[in-house]
Amino acid sequence: MSLTRILASAVVALGMAGAAVAEDKTKVGFIYVGPIGDGGWTYEHDQGRLAVEEHFGDKVETVFQESVPEGADAERAITQMALQGADLIFTTSFGYMDSTINVASKFPDVKFEHATGFKTADNVSVYSARFYEGRAIQGHIAGKMTKSNVIGYIASFPIPEVIRGINAAYIHAKAVNPDVEFKVIWVYTWFDPPKEADAATALIDQGADVILQHTDSTAPQAAAEKAGVISFGQASDMSEYAPLPRVSSIIDNWAPYYVARTQAVIDGSWESTETWDGIAPGMVEIGAISEAVPAEIKAEALAMKDLIASGQYHPFTGPLNKQDGTPWLAEGEVADDGTLLGMDFYVEGLTAEIPQ
């Protein structure tokens, strides 16, 4: 046997040994829609990933890919991750839904988890948080805090999750301030700092003194700070803007879920599930309410949070009409999850139309 052949087989043997060692680790992959430093949505998912690493130590290896565009690129990125031997892949944006399902059908042994979607398969779970519970509380604070009675809302895409958030915030702002008016701008992006900043400026120019957002960067906070109006942290605490303009925030806490699901894969007990958790189990958190908010409003907001957490209050409780005036929920009636998940209408009082 020549020296080269000995060397070559040694290399092959080493490679196999290396692969065998790697087999022992559970590999968990994450596909992100923005950069992990966005300070919002993707940042919090990455905090969840780090929590998985922390919890399992050497037993788990995590990989991630940032700024993956929704669409054909997503399918390529997810496939790549599956080919690299990931056992469990979290795809963390609504727009990855079809890509996830497509890739999952080609890799039956890999488990997939899609955030905020509704399509499942034997190896695809979906999970999301009841952000609307947090938005109801923000709406309450916004309605109490506004002086111009104009509240600006930066919306991303016209999907149920975003529409639900607008409705939840509006209902609770209106409840405490009948004169309140919502102005909504659709920016058609989850993450485009210059555009988000321009949208915030346009809303402020038109009289909004409170900005709510459903996009991922902190650019609206910076614009709000410059104009002296208030805003709310979205997905992440964004506490670098406290006490003003950011007066509170909705925080997504994915860590416990990610740890639990990774554990399930390690145990072999993983099954396709549909998870939709809110304030009660801690998937949605309310960031500290800053001292810019008067004590009594803060107390009301926290009381509402407790009622939601204990299940005594549901943010979508009748009487509520749809935008065109048709009755939706009767007095005391609570919206069912099916309607909420497919929500494609504004409630009565919101002006303008939802883009189709």
């Binding site: 950069p35 940032e66 700024s67 701008i185 700092p193 900043a197 346009a202 038109q206 902190t218 650019a219």
Partner: protein, 306 residues
Amino acid sequence: MDLSSINPTLLLASLIVASTPILLAALGELVVERAGVLNLGVEGMMITGAICGFAIAVNTGSPFVGFIAAALGGAALAFLFAILTQFALANQVASGLALTLFGLGLSALLGQGYQGLKPPPTSDIDIPILSDLPILGPVLFSHDPMVYLALSLVAAVWFVLNRTRAGLILRAVGENHGAAHALGYKVIRIRILAILFGGACAGLGGAYLSLVRVPQWTEGMTAGSGWIALALVVFASWKAGRVLLGAWLFGGISVLQLNLQAAGVAIPVEYLSMSPYLITILVLVIMSADKSRAPGSLGRTFHASD
């Protein structure tokens, strides 16, 4: 619908801010192309300027120093392009595209650790008396210094190109580098200077995004502004005044569509979102009736042996 809630004064003021980055970048590219060089790396130079300016401004606490660093960063990247195309005689189109990719990667690398930070504020200059004028005051006289620098650069570039000997030489090099060389002008040297100027302007445009308009650092935050700047130069048929017009038009429509949405106008949002691009194409078609054409030597490689 409530159009009265759109304040035309504020609209004009924010369109000037929104158009400044592409105005700066396009103005630099105009000079480069007038010298006969096609540099498609504007996006890369902008994003490099954005991170250089941001990092230095955060570390020194001075946005002014940040902008200088951004200009130097953009020029440094442009120098790479100059070496490739003027000495190594590489293809300009390929080098420019490579420059964009390189700049995007480099800026992401340099930007590690700068995400989520706030830059020192660039203060607006309130010119006494003038800024108190109704309408004109807020629109024209209450911006940050970079807005005025960009506007004076438009005037300066126009003046130098059309009214000075240096401008005449630069244009001669761009129109016919062989003839300019025969007359004894240093074609390569003039082109390198133009490329460096273009890089510095693009860098300033990028820093305007990261220090004033957004203001924060995020990977890929130029989001295609560099390509719009490139299109703007053609749109303006290589004339400085029209670059300003084009930048305002594009910035204006982007800002207007957001304002129309906020006012609840019942036009489908998708149409509003694509309107800046549609109108840019439309005006491009109308302006192409103008017979001014691209510099004769644009994109052609020069070697003294020709």
